[in-house]
């Protein structure tokens, strides 16, 4: 047994309202830079739908992840030699059209247009070619089933059930799926990287790209089945979700979780046996993989595990955090969280509680009591389509675990109604799904009421390691980071600067400077650019809302009107 700690996330899909706040704040913190205009480390997809990039789940086409060939686990796109032979042109890399061509608007025309009869229009311009662009796709073009007759029918997850599914607007079901990097236990992006630049941090399992070692071979981008590694086309390097490691290291949750309006994200540790990962990922049938993945996780209350963890150098407070972990409870104790696409065999570590809402909505629409256990159980059995669809997403098509989870959620709904209304508790309801009433109430508290500190149990990195952290630089550098050497080789060359210092300086410059460099296309100032990376959730982030003087408009120019 080789115990390792993994920072994991659970998302409760019933609570997602599809507001995209997570995506926007993540972009604001991480990818609002040249070269990453099209990149969303966090995106929210409407399902059924194509997702981002378009149809990424169709592994027959994209060849991401692992497959079992003759009992051995192999990269689907080919092993080391195939990769090296394809290094001059990656045949499976998505093009910018598979994501979308990023654009901005020509605000200059709006702001400087003379008085005229027809209203001036800000045209869209491509941020790739700089040419006018007819916007026809984006990261969430099929949001809320928009154009679903054209797009959702191509959803790869409808394969096998397409004859049963109705995508007519009134009859279909719908839910949102927020996605970040899965920080897999068996990451195929890392395995695909010829340079060995992608690594899994041994302390917390976060998968990162070493920007100094990345040589831009692009194999990770096609190797990841979730298409969550992106190519920065300005720097020529791969970039991906970082699990906001500078925040997590100091004990605050990721930006996407922090700003989540529905409070549907849970962050905490799980312990796993690193020696068993390969064996579990090599499970014979795709439908065995969910169980196999559960089998890799270790119980932090088990004395044998505690002994091994101590030997592996996992600190005591980390063990305590692993015991209190909300993620561990949802995944291992209540077993209501399922991994996204276990059939890719990467052992993803962002788990999802499948939504009961399609079932509840269906019952309510027919006029029956949608809180009643028997109605809900009956509907789960009768409504094959949502269940089969969810199974395609979370259990490689095996409906049994999805049904079990939905029944558990339905039972909780029904049981807690009696409790909330002060009726007698019907203990047969939790018993029907193999739980005690107390357990069910605990689960309810975690899913519905949990406060900040219950949803995010994040042990901080250790004081003795403080010197190595991004956010807590303990040394006293001689000279300022401002005095960098110019980037003589163009884009991104020159000596590295710590992330935090870089952000700070960049922010300060942007907010203070009054030069051309600080102007938007329309001549508007860049004021109000906000950095959410350093925001701890308390109070308002600096610069989020304009000050009283920011709205005063210079009327001298168009004073003739």
């Amino acid at each position: 047994m080789r115990v390792m700690a993994q920072m994991a996330m659970v998302m409760n899909l019933d609570k997602c309202i599809g507001c995209h706040t997570c995506s926007v704040t993540c972009k604001q913190a991480w990818t609002n830079r040249a070269g990453t205009e099209y990149v969303w480390f966090n995106n929210v997809e409407t399902r059924p739908g194509l997702g981002y990039p378009r149809g990424y789940e169709d592994q027959d086409e994209w060849q991401g992840g692992w497959v079992l060939k003759k009992g051995r686990l192999r990269l689907r796109a080919g092993g080391r030699f195939t990769k090296l032979l394809q290094i001059f042109s990656n045949p499976k890399m998505p093009s910018i059209r598979d994501y979308y061509e990023p654009w901005t608007y020509d605000y200059d025309t709006l702001l400087n247009a003379p008085a005229q009869k027809s209203f001036p229009v800000a045209r869209a311009y491509s941020l790739i070619s700089g040419k006018p662009l007819n916007v026809s796709w984006s990261a969430n073009w099929d949001d809320d089933l928009g154009g679903s007759r054209e797009h959702a029918v191509k959803d790869p997850m409808l394969k096998g059930i397409e004859d049963k599914i109705r995508l007519e607007f009134e009859q279909t079901f719908m839910f949102y799926l927020p996605r970040i990097c899965e920080h897999c236990l068996n990451p195929s992006c890392a395995a695909s990287c010829p340079s060995g630049a992608i690594y899994k941090r041994s302390e917390d399992g976060i998968v990162l790209v070493d920007q100094d070692r990345c040589r831009g071979w692009r194999m990770c981008i096609s190797g990841c089945p979730y298409k969550k590694v992106y190519f920065n086309h300005k720097t020529g390097k791969a970039e991906k979700c970082t699990f906001c490691y500078p925040r997590v290291e100091v004990g605050i949750p990721t930006v996407c979780a922090e700003t989540c309006v529905g409070r549907l994200r849970y962050i905490g540790l799980v312990l796993y046996d690193a020696d068993k990962v390969l064996e579990a990922a090599s499970a014979a049938a795709d439908t065995d993989l969910y169980e196999a993945q559960l089998g890799v996780l270790l119980d932090p209350d088990d004395p044998a595990v505690q002994r091994e963890a101590e030997r592996a150098g996992i600190p005591g407070d980390w063990m305590e955090a692993a015991r209190r972990s909300p993620v561990k409870r949802l995944i291992m104790d209540y077993k209501v969280a399922l991994p996204l696409h276990p059939e890719y065999r990467t052992m993803p570590m962002v788990w999802y509680i499948p939504p009961l809402s399609p079932v509840v909505d269906a019952i309510r629409d027919t006029g029956y009591d949608a809180e009643d256990r028997d109605n809900l159980f009956g509907a789960i059995d009768a409504l094959r389509i949502p269940v089969e669809y969810l199974a395609n997403l979370f259990t490689a098509g095996d409906v049994a675990p999805v049904e079990r989870v939905l029944r558990t959620l339905a039972a909780m709904r029904s049981y807690m109604r009696d409790v909330n209304l002060g009726r007698d508790r019907r203990e047969e309801i939790p018993a029907a799904v193999g739980m005690s009433g107390a357990e069910m109430e605990e689960m309810f508290r975690l899913l519905a009421l949990a406060k900040y500190d219950d949803r995010y149990v994040i042990p901080t990195a250790h004081a003795e390691q403080a010197h190595a952290l991004e956010e807590l630089a303990t040394d006293c550098p001689v000279g300022s980071f401002d005095a960098q050497l110019p980037a003589v080789f163009g884009e991104g060359s020159g000596r590295p600067v710590p992330v935090a210092v870089e952000n700070f300086e960049m922010l300060r410059r942007r907010q203070e400077a009054d030069s051309l460099e600080n102007q938007l296309i329309g001549g508007q100032r860049k004021q109000g650019r906000v950095n959410l990376l350093n925001w701890d959730g308390v109070g308002l982030p600096e610069g989020l809302f304009p000050g009283p003087d920011a709205s005063t408009h210079d009327t001298s120019k168009d004073g003739s009107r």
Binding site: S89, A190, F489, G490, S493
Partner: protein, 249 residues
């Protein structure tokens, strides 16, 4: 003049090549990349890039054979000059043709595809000009000189090759080169200019050919403490935080 061209220039260029690479690696690891443009365009790249790169590997092998292995060695293993010549041409001409065809496709793509062209720096253009000229001269020397014997027959294994080796023996023999045909002279001198430019262009990616991938375990684990250099931070952190900009065309 002979000494300047065939002794001083090569040594200066080689020194710049070596020191430049060390300096660039230490100073600019973040900029050490292929700067791939596949995201913008991949139909032409899919044909042009493998043609060029595999052709280039053949060309490099051919140069190793022709420049580094002395004629005495091939004679010793019983390879007659005419047999050697045939091998060189049979291997060299397809490799050269593939390289040239690939380069033509890539240069066309670079000019014709808007996003690729706007991602091309002055540095890139200068490098392509020198690289293209060196390749063109090399092919001219092979085809015109060795195949059709324009301007008399010339055995580079008696002239260029011993001179090239003499540089590394530190006993340069510039006279060997002074007598070579103009085509070979230009090819050699421009090749050294290219070596001098090398560390300052995207060509550095040649030295990151990922051969270690073959033996490395698939999943890399790394501790937070392990840092590649002494910067403050978990790893040397990234540059590239510029804001997106619109350059209207």
């Amino acid at each position: 003049m002979t000494t300047l061209l065939w002794v001083i220039v090569p040594y200066v260029c080689l020194a710049v090549f070596v020191v430049g690479h060390v300096w660039r690696y230490r100073y600019d690891k973040f900029g050490w990349t292929t700067r791939s443009s596949q995201l913008y365009e991949d139909r032409l790249l899919r044909i042009g890039s493998p043609l060029f790169h595999f052709g280039m590997l053949g060309v490099v092998l051919g140069h190793v054979m022709g420049l580094l292995i002395p004629q005495s060695a091939t004679d010793a293993i019983g390879l007659s000059p005419s047999a050697y010549h045939t091998i060189a041409l049979v291997g060299g001409i397809p490799a050269g043709a593939a390289t040239l065809a690939g380069l033509a496709i890539l240069v066309y793509r670079r000019r014709a595809t808007g996003p690729v062209f706007s991602a091309t720096t002055v540095n890139d253009k200068a490098m392509y000009a020198v690289l293209g000229t060196v390749i063109a001269l090399g092919i001219w020397n092979t085809v015109a000189g060795s195949l059709f014997h324009f301007g008399g027959e010339y055995h580079y294994r008696d002239g260029v090759s011993p001179w090239f080796r003499s540089i590394f023996y530190l006993q340069p023999e510039p006279d060997l080169m002074a007598d070579a045909p103009l085509g070979f002279q230009l090819h050699a001198i421009l090749a050294f200019v290219l070596f001098a430019m090398w560390p300052f262009t995207r060509l550095v990616h040649v030295f990151s050919a990922p051969v270690g991938y073959i033996t490395r375990p698939y999943i890399v684990y790394r501790s937070r403490d392990e840092r590649p250099d002494a910067a403050t931070g978990t790893r040397a952190p990234q540059r590239g935080w510029e804001r997106p900009e619109l350059h209207k065309k």
